[in-house]
């Protein structure tokens, strides 16, 4: 019950065998009231959502909707131990993401043939993948670009670590090998389990992020296109995205996708809208760069899961299409600058500066908060946040209209994760060490998503290079969507072991070292 950062034993909030925590944190009057007010806002967002009968109907139809019972807890997990500006930054991001997902769900159920069945609305819907840059929708402001996989699997696992297990089992029951990446496997499981909303004038699938994702789309399109009659365009983004000789191919794919959407929706591409979005993309990039610059100093501000989750959403799913995110960018930058000027720190003690690399454990996104609170390891940036910083053309001129096609292609090729896991070893291996130097990091936390072949395939080289450079490299194995393979405690133990045996350190907050959260959401 403390106002000061780091006074609470955060592990004491957990309860053995429980899905939820004993109580919420007392952060001093001002911060508690602030957190309470944001909680009220979230409750209102959820209330507004639930008040619509079709959403209740959907809640009772789709298994993954049960995970949304855990929305407030997801925020609590990410705000753990935070005070002042850090608490506010986290809420700015989390609350906006919640709003955005609530709108997405509402729209999905409105058009869903099983639920709202608003056919006119459905005709304006273009379905996209969960792991897909939405750049190609920047010039279609009157269309709804909706992802079914985002709420059914991606967000669900953020909310509830066990959310994907049922769908993984369904896919395995139908013969899918269990050694593939569980993300596309779970998405395929949702489709097989007849648990995906059915709507849309057409759909765009993309080969991001990996072989599994590409093939998983085949399972989904089989049902979506051949049975539900929703035409699907497969957008092929080149893998060797840094090479000049693939850019024309990528651009032509974008042209093809735009023509496909125009054909199936009857809506024409709007250049004015596109360039407005492009300005916002550039603004978001500039903000992200500013935050990253701060993170190179002794006073990093927007980092950890704050940076990771927000970048994923803003860069990939939003891609300049939603004005509210520009406002959030502005607010975050303001808060970060305030905190920087005050030389503030988010935890009691900063011991190590770390680059977090690899594909993070999705069922344990708040691990980065734990890392900071338990061991004083500051996750300065992560692989998924190190995306394109290229400015795209934002003035509407004839030349820029042509350039815009290449910009969209570039963004699509450089989607989060795949911009590092594909495109040759330079982007995954060599650039890590460059970032380590730029950020003055003494440690690399290397997520090894055990079924991510592109990442596993560089395992030995990471080891060799870290040894050569004298950097502490801490491997953290996990299975992305499936805590049955490696639990959250299993994830933590890998850090605990390294910190105790190699670094010979004691935790800052010992109550966090072992947590009874196997049953937790």
């Amino acid at each position: 019950m403390a106002k000061e950062i780091g006074k609470d034993r955060l592990g004491d909030f957990y309860k053995e065998g429980s899905k939820v925590r004993k109580r919420r944190e007392w952060r001093g009057v001002k911060d508690t009231l602030y957190d309470y007010s944001r909680w009220l806002k979230i409750m209102m967002t959820l209330g507004k959502f639930v008040v619509k009968p079709r959403n209740v109907k959907a809640m009772l139809r789709y298994r993954w909707m049960a995970n949304y019972l855990a929305v407030p807890m997801m925020v609590d997990r990410h705000t753990q131990g935070l005070r002042g500006e850090y608490l506010r930054m986290c809420h700015v991001e989390q609350d906006l993401i919640i709003d955005d997902v609530a709108k997405l769900l509402d729209n999905l159920f409105r058009g869903d043939r099983r639920i709202g069945n608003d056919t006119e609305f459905s005709k304006k819907v273009v379905l996209v993948d969960e792991n897909e840059m939405t750049a190609v929708m920047m010039g279609f402001p009157t269309l709804k670009c909706l992802s079914r996989e985002t709420p059914s699997t991606y967000v669900s696992v953020l909310l509830n670590q066990h959310a994907a297990e049922h769908y993984l089992d369904v896919a395995a029951e139908f013969g899918l090998a269990t050694d593939v990446c569980p993300m596309p496997a779970a998405e395929a499981g949702v489709s097989i389990d007849d648990d995906a909303p059915v709507l849309g004038a057409c759909a765009i699938q993309c080969n991001t992020t990996c072989d599994g994702s590409l093939l998983g789309n085949g399972v989904i399109s089989k049902r979506l296109e051949l049975e539900d009659g929703v035409p699907v365009f497969q957008l092929a983004a080149p893998l060797r995205h840094r090479e000049d000789d693939v850019q024309e191919y990528a651009a032509q794919e974008i042209r093809g996708a735009i023509a496909f959407v125009e054909k199936h929706t009857g809506v024409k591409w709007d250049w004015k809208a596109y360039f407005e979005c492009a300005k916002r993309v550039n603004y978001a990039t500039a903000c992200r760069q500013e935050w990253l610059d701060m993170n190179r100093t002794d006073y990093p501000q927007v980092f950890g899961s704050n940076l990771a989750l927000y970048t994923e959403t803003n860069y990939m799913a939003i891609c300049g299409r939603v004005e509210d995110f520009e406002k959030a960018d502005r607010k975050l930058t303001k808060l970060a600058n305030q905190a920087y000027e005050k030389r503030m720190r988010a935890a009691k003690e900063y011991r190590h500066r770390a680059i977090v690399w690899g594909v993070q454990s999705h069922f344990y996104m708040d691990f980065l908060v734990w890392l900071l609170n338990c061991w004083g390891i500051v996750p300065l940036t992560d692989m998924l946040s190190m995306v394109s910083t290229k400015r795209i053309a934002e003035e509407d001129t004839p030349e820029n209209r042509e350039q815009a096609i290449y910009d969209m292609a570039w963004l699509t090729e450089n989607m989060i994760m795949r911009n590092r896991t594909h495109g040759g070893y330079k982007v995954l291996l060599d650039e890590l060490w460059e970032f380590t130097e730029q950020f003055n990091a003494d440690m690399v936390i290397l997520w090894e998503h055990i079924n991510c072949k592109a990442l596993d395939g560089m395992h030995g080289m990471f080891e060799d290079r870290a040894r050569e450079l004298g950097i502490h490299l801490v491997w953290v194995d996990h299975d992305l969507f499936d805590p049955r393979i490696i639990s959250r405690q299993g994830v933590r133990d890998q850090i605990n072991l390294y910190m105790r045996t190699v670094m010979r350190e004691e935790p800052i907050d010992p109550s966090l070292e072992v947590l009874p959260d196997d049953e937790s959401w």
Binding site: D179, K222, A236, G424, I450
Partner: protein, 400 residues
């Protein structure tokens, strides 16, 4: 049946990546283009002065060092190749060309490069990575052609002074087609009720054409084809059922042997290193340049699951069904190497679709790279043979 005269010769070629014909061709001054993945257009690697060798790791034992570099989660094929490279088993190669067919192969070759495992003391040695299309369309064709130009022809020209003209490519295609026609003709014998060639023999011969210089193997191929024309089959067909084998990289004839020892004749081979579609002749016209035509043919006939457009996906299963019909298969075996992402999905979809929509009994299995000692796999194939045979007896082979 009487043993084929050259079977041991062909089997010998499969014992080492650096087999005696590879050595002979290099001694004759030819450049050895090592490559991985069926999406690399083979004739472009067999221009005058060059010959191709598709990398394998025969007689693989442990791959501990490769497992350190790639982890145990990458398929054993990629690990076996890297291990063999680290052991120095591919130092004969004058270059390595690979498409980004799948992440694992890509990482395998990248590790070879980073570890400088291949090309020691070869001044002109190079690695090339190609982007290849994921859809069969005009855009894909443009990409394919450009990539072959930039990552195969140009480096061969610049590093080794190879003639990469249209004429040279057409010469390579002519030689390639001669091999394909022979393999196709041999494959035709598999349609017979009591065939004069076993699936194992056919797989050995086909595989040899991928790993040995074509010009040095042609005479033996021709002779074997002639021999088959007069070969007497056993009086009683030793096989109980006929199966088509479908799947990913299968460079181990022991898999086919294991299946045949379990009582199933392998009548059709739709897998990478198999004859479908890899040994379909490439028919060129005179109007268009050869490079574009080759790329188009490779793209259109490609059965790799990385082709993601709906038409291609549907066509892949149709292709398997058509082969099963043409070669009178009683059942289909979908096999994938463990940890192979593309084929994990393709196997799941293909096995369901071939069973449910086409009515074939299907066995879906995953397997290690080297299968000879796999009792588990043998048991599964035996059980499948029993079930298919039972269906045949009951007259319901097509009822799934």
């Amino acid at each position: 049946m009487k043993d084929l005269k050259h079977l041991i010769f062909f089997e010998d070629l499969l014992q080492e990546a650096n087999n005696k014909l590879v050595q002979q061709a290099q001694e004759e001054g030819n450049v050895c283009v090592a490559y991985i993945c069926e999406n690399t257009p083979e004739p472009l690697l067999n221009l005058p002065g060059t010959f191709s060798a598709r990398l394998r790791a025969p007689r693989t034992g442990s791959f501990d060092i490769a497992t350190y570099y790639l982890t145990s989660f990458l398929c054993e094929y990629s690990r076996a190749l890297l291990e063999r490279a680290i052991e120095g088993g591919y130092n004969f190669a004058d270059c390595v060309i690979t498409p980004d067919g799948c992440s694992m192969m890509n990482r395998c070759v990248e590790n070879m490069e980073l570890l400088k495992a291949v090309g020691k003391d070869k001044e002109h040695f190079f690695y090339e990575y190609m982007e290849i299309p994921m859809k069969s369309d005009d855009n894909g064709l443009n990409l394919y052609t450009l990539q072959c130009e930039n990552h195969i022809l140009k480096p061969l020209r610049e590093h080794y002074g190879i003639d990469t003209s249209d004429r040279a490519i057409r010469m390579a295609v002519a030689e390639h087609n001669r091999v394909c026609e022979i393999i196709r003709a041999m494959g035709e014998f598999r349609k017979a009720e009591n065939p004069v060639i076993t699936g194992y023999e056919f797989s050995v011969i086909t595989l040899a054409t991928y790993v040995a210089p074509k010009y040095l193997i042609l005479d033996k191929l021709e002779e074997t084809l002639e021999e088959l024309k007069t070969r007497e089959p056993d009086e009683k067909n030793p096989f109980r059922v006929r199966v088509e084998v479908v799947g990913s990289e299968t460079d181990d004839p022991d898999l086919i042997k294991l299946i045949e020892e379990s009582g199933a004749y392998v009548c059709a081979d739709r897998y990478c290193y198999g004859s479908f579609p890899g040994r379909d002749p490439i028919v060129l016209n005179d109007e268009e340049d050869a490079l574009t035509q080759i790329c188009r043919i490779y793209m259109q006939r490609g059965q790799c699951p990385r082709y993601m457009n709906t038409e291609k996906m549907i066509a892949r299963r149709q292709y398997v069904a058509d082969l099963a019909k043409e070669y009178r298969a009683d059942g289909i075996i979908y096999q994938q190497m463990k940890f192979c992402d593309p084929w994990a999905y393709e196997k799941m979809l293909g096995s369901h679709i071939l069973r449910e929509d086409f009515g074939y009994p299907v066995l879906a299995v995953d397997r290690p790279y080297a299968v000879a000692g796999s009792g588990q796999l043998r048991t599964r194939v035996q059980a499948f043979v029993e079930s298919v045979e039972l269906k045949k007896i009951q007259g319901g082979a097509q009822n799934g």
